[in-house]
Amino acid sequence: MKHIDEKAIDEEIKWAKINEDVLRHMETPRKAYWIALATSFIMFLVGLTAEVYQYRYGLGVADLNRSHMWGLYIATFIFWVGASHAGTLLSAFLHIIHAEWRRTIYRFAEAMTSVALMTAAIFPMIHLGRVWNLYWVVPYVSDREIWSNFRSPLVWDAFAITTYLTCSLTFLYVGMIPDLAICRDNARGWRKKLYVVLSVGWQGTDRQWRNFRKTYMTMACFLLPLAISVHSVVSSDFAVSLMPGWHVTSFPPYFVAGALYSGCAGIMTLFIIMRYFFRLEDYMTVNIMEKLCKMTFAIAMVWTYLILAEFAAVWYGHNQADKEVLLAKFYGPFAPYFWAMMFLAVVLPFTLAFQRLRRNMAALMVLSILFNIGMWLERWMIVSPTLSHAYNPESWNMLWPSIVQWCIVFGSLGWFGMIFLVFCKIFPMVSMYEVKEMVFHQKKDLLGHKHGHSHAGSGHVVGKPSVEGA
């Protein structure tokens, strides 16, 4: 086996080149970027058309019914909320534990978090019967003392997702301020104006850096539990209900693990896409991808365990109604989707155990998309079988979602892609200052190894930035 250099990044890269690469590529991505953007926009338009149609004629066009009050909308909602989790994990958790390799990829992962949340947030609106009254969920003071219902998991959702969206956007933004200052220093035209405002006067002074460090760490510490609470709350939509197959104690951790899993798979996809679109091969290296794969694999195994534990709990719990739902997945009308989900999301991750595969971008692209399809199916398999097989046997009903539902689901992918791609175009998707720190520390470590502890004792920082011509 050939030796593989385990370095996350080439530490000899010039700092100016980092700036140059990131900034230049922001402005001139590959042609594929524009194709992707156009495709996303078209998909978005398809979804928008479907939504306008549904808005006009009512939710009946989605073929929802008395048994199936929820359908793909809620499944996709969970999917997107889930997808938003990995960004936080990568950025906050790995930041807390000082995992260096996160530094080149956390920015777009965080962007993915925010955009995925924005995508998720439109689903409750699409799915509401009377979306124009959505603001009633907000507990604003009413002179008739009518509030939203604080017991409803949907209100918890509203609280949790608002909090999460606010926090993850601020986290993304705060982490981006030093980079925005760099952009400000280099941009012209409208970009200049934008970055001047957004960089809020960042100059990189020691006071700013010091506060920045504390702030960033503090926020990371809040974001991690927040992310976990958010998907727990989303799982409460089901776990708090009475329905067989939903009323499951293990749902919160199961949802969180599933979220991280699908999020990591999502990051893998975007990793490869970003790397290609913006020519960032030097930063998003294969070594980082391999680490990402290992993490995904680990989380996939946690999730696999939890899903099997859930089946076991239902099976040995021997609650008739619960078992019917389970059997409907095993043998019933949902079997094709269920087993597809089991294959894609449970069996397929084992391929990540092979190093050769972990380093093959094309294969990983396919795999990560398949994982996400599996995880999307998994969400559908949470929502629909229970609705199909509820307590009253009279109302058992199989739903095949109408074309409108499918269009909106695909439209949401377009919406995500559109916002994300535009976002990438405006904001640096690789954190320049963090890459510099990464290079700096990596070099320092290397020097430290080479020279023993000669410099460490001095208490000074050793090393210097790789400067052009220095």
Partner: protein
Amino acid sequence: MSGNGVNRRDFLKILGWSGVGVAVAGCDRPTTVTLEEGKEEVVAYLQPEEYVIPGVGVWFASTCQQCAAGCGVHGRVREGRVLKMEGNPDSSINYGKLCQMGQAGLQGHYNPDRIKKPLLRKGGSLTEVTWEEALGALEQKVGAASGLAGDRFAWFTGTVSGHQSVLLSAHLAALGSQHHFVHEVINNAVGRAVNLDMLGEAMPRYRLDEAKVILSFGSDFLGAGISPVYFSTAYAKFRTGSPRGVLIQVEPKMTLTGGNADLWVPIRPGTEGAFALGIANQLLKQGVDAAGVPENIRALIASHDAEKVASITGSSADRLARIATLLKERSPSLVLAGASVEGHAHGYSAAAAVMMLNMLLGNVGKTIVAGGSSPFPQMEAKMGGTRDLIAFADAADKKNLDVVFFYGANPVYTAPSHLGLTEKLKNIPFKVAFSNFPDETALSADLVLPVLSPYEDWGTHMGIYQPEQKVVSIQQPLMEPLYPNKGFGDLLLAFLKMRKVKEYESFTDYYSYLKNAFTALPATVKGGALTNDEFWGKTLQKGLLEVPTVVGTLKPRLVEINLPEYKEDAQRPFHLVPSGRLGLWDGRHANLPWLQEAPDQISKIVWTSWAEIHPATAARLGVEQGDFLRITSDQGALEAQVYIHKGIHIDAIAVPMGQGHEEYGRYAKGRGVNPLKIISPGADARTGELALYGTRVTAAAAGRREFLVKLSSNETQLGRKMVATVTADVFNRAEPKTIT
């Protein structure tokens, strides 16, 4: 909620405001306002009568016209619109209850497909004309000047009763015609004939509440029977008695009544008579007194031993014996025969065999008692069957008719295709349909007169089945007419005036005729010293008038029973069961969306037709639920989706009546199939009624499948305690008796 102090006059005053605009528009229709008050009066809505509070509903009594049972109803009127029908608690027919058809009558009244103006056939197609033109055309054809007389003229109606029936008979008499064809598909004509022959009375009273056991041969008294609401109330008493009554239903296809049976016995169609004789055989074996049974019948009974009957009927020998034991031990019992017994060429004999069981068991006089007679036999319901349909088709075929008036019947839809009625109708030069809807008959008529709906019109009715003292129920308008049309009674009066001016000229309209008829009643009927107006007001308020009834006794008598051998038909192995539905009935309610969407009680299917078959049959035919089954008789074929359940005999295929309309408005048109169309020729040997259940068919998968639209998806409770069941023993022992 019921009776109130409102008098009729004031009620009509408030209604006047909405009617005036139409009256001014130049139609000479006799608005009740004009005639009663002598002038038209507009009452400002803002200054209503003292008792009228905008927003408060007022209830008025009337009579339900949805089937011939004649239930008393209360209609809720608010702001001049009738909104809801409920039963009239004073009615001895329905005791304040109402079935789904009665509830849905409103949708006939407000139906978007109602004909708004008379239609006259001009140059081959029906065109809207004014009432003047329509009545002018009518006068030309049937007026005194037309010279039409005698049997060249006919009325073809559904069940009619009350003063409409009186006037209708008078009209026929004025023309000198004998032809009054009365046609009902869901009828008990054969049963009436049997009753008349064996009991001396066509419509005795059945005392379900007195019976401890009911053995019903296909009698769907809870569903498509003679008086569904009354029998349902009686059934409740029967089921809550002490001990609780036992219901055994013997029939080829599970009816609503069968669905409620303690024991549902499937039987090969057409062998019910043999089953009855088999039970008689067992009863005699068990020592039931058979002194009055003549020798020939005794021999017939003796020839029906259990094994033979079991092999004929497809039931088991010991089941026969047990049912006989049960009947004998739990007395009194009641044995009923229904449509599936009567609808065969030997229907009369089979029904007579069933009735004979009542005699053997001594039920006559206990659970079957005399119905009595009223002093107004001319007002009692003229009940029809299908014999008149055959006779009518025959008369039309022989070109014996010049003019026919259709009212309350849709023979073009209900007539089996072997009668060829559509073709034969062309032999009648002038056909007049009194119809509110563009149904098949109306659209083949030359003149369509849209009469007022039952909620806009006056009338009196006597229900076909009178469970207690006989009553004449009043039908009064619950609101002003939606369209400026004419009442049926008014039209009848107008026709009479064409021929007999003198006798009827004193009646300005049907309302005055009715009021006159009632106020002229003797004091014994009026019940107390009341002024005419007081009595009339009281009657209208109550909605019915109880008339003195003379109750005699029944005189049981046995009749000849001729049951043919049951024969298999290798070519057509299945029996077609054209089942009636409480809901769409014989198809007359197919235009009411509530009833289209109310699931069939047994199959829970909505909006379409279906073919019920047994799982074993389905396996034999290789079809599954939702598959289209092609059912072919010697008269044609139809295709319907399969519904599989165990409530049907393996040799039977049941297709419900009610759908398959070629016309009849947006809710009915082009929906499902009409099983009556493929009925084979054949009629009951004695009464001449069509043998509706005697059709043999073949069936084969039609090779296509659609989603079967029905209410429930699961047919079982999957072990959940949705409907829990206890044994009657527990019920009899533990049921608290103190609740009133």
